[in-house]
Symmetry: C2
Subunit: 162 residues, 2 copies
């Protein structure tokens, strides 16, 4: 069976067995921003159920313009007021430069590598809190997920002043 055929066969089993679906509004008014890393099953890691939260993922779980675009819709159209930005240990973007990644990939991009989880989380959360159209956000947390143990460290917490 090809890779794609295998995915479609797994989906037939899933569709036959799945629970009823909630509406489009995330039930916990929550969005998770995290890395694409294959070792992160976002719903399982955070005890989320179908319909609970938006999940936004890219390389590194960094706050890019695409993440801001997504969160603009989360906040204003779908009632999200809380965001968790979750980086993880052993991330491929830790301690690498754009020059090194250009040599590896041939792509001339800003790859958003970083040296320190706490500094990068503070920086990304600052981008969110300084984005005028994201004013409906009330709480933002910055987590680091330890890929070897599955445990989270709670690194940054921001709440909008009353």
């Amino acid at each position: 069976m090809t890779q794609i055929a295998e995915l479609l066969a797994a989906n037939r089993n899933y569709a036959a067995a799945r629970a009823a679906v909630a509406g489009a509004h995330p039930g916990r008014h929550l969005a998770i921003v995290t890395c694409m890393d294959a070792r992160i099953d976002t719903f399982a890691v955070l005890g989320l159920h179908l319909g609970d939260a938006h999940v936004i993922r890219n390389a590194g779980g960094r706050v890019t313009l695409d993440v801001q675009r997504s969160l603009a819709l989360s906040c204003h159209v779908l009632g999200v007021d809380t965001v968790v930005v979750m980086q993880h240990t052993k991330c491929g973007l830790l301690g690498v430069t754009d020059l090194e990644l250009h040599d590896l990939t041939g792509a001339d991009l800003g790859f958003l590598g970083f040296d320190d989880h706490s500094a990068a989380l503070h920086e990304d959360i600052e981008v969110l809190t300084n984005t005028p159209y994201l004013h409906p956000l009330k709480v933002i947390a910055g987590f680091v997920y330890e890929v070897d143990t599955g445990a989270i460290t709670d690194v940054v917490r921001w709440e909008r002043p009353e």
Copy 2:
């Protein structure tokens, strides 16, 4: 318990019970690009297990520069050769314009709304196949996930010519 405390408590249960973790290379050489929608549990929908695939998510599951950045790393650093772009029915970006979304969100952005799954999937897959630094990709599929039934429709398939 606050929202954030609840996530951390769920994670303690998860970390205590989870299986051993594979390495960073996706075991199935696979990346999934899909929407942030709360009704999509990507691993479950496609029968994926921890370590199998990169998961990249944004509003609409559209192929943006941020997705290209992520896939450059998937392909060149972590051995991915197959991508699935999975849109879904009842997506908030179906049939909406930037002007309408600007009025709702206050954000002056290209929101990447679309009118037709097939046209949008073809367009996004063409972006991927025309990105020179994504040449390691061998297979790309375009799926539509039906949020009410959980079933997938297999809409587009591309394979790199030998």
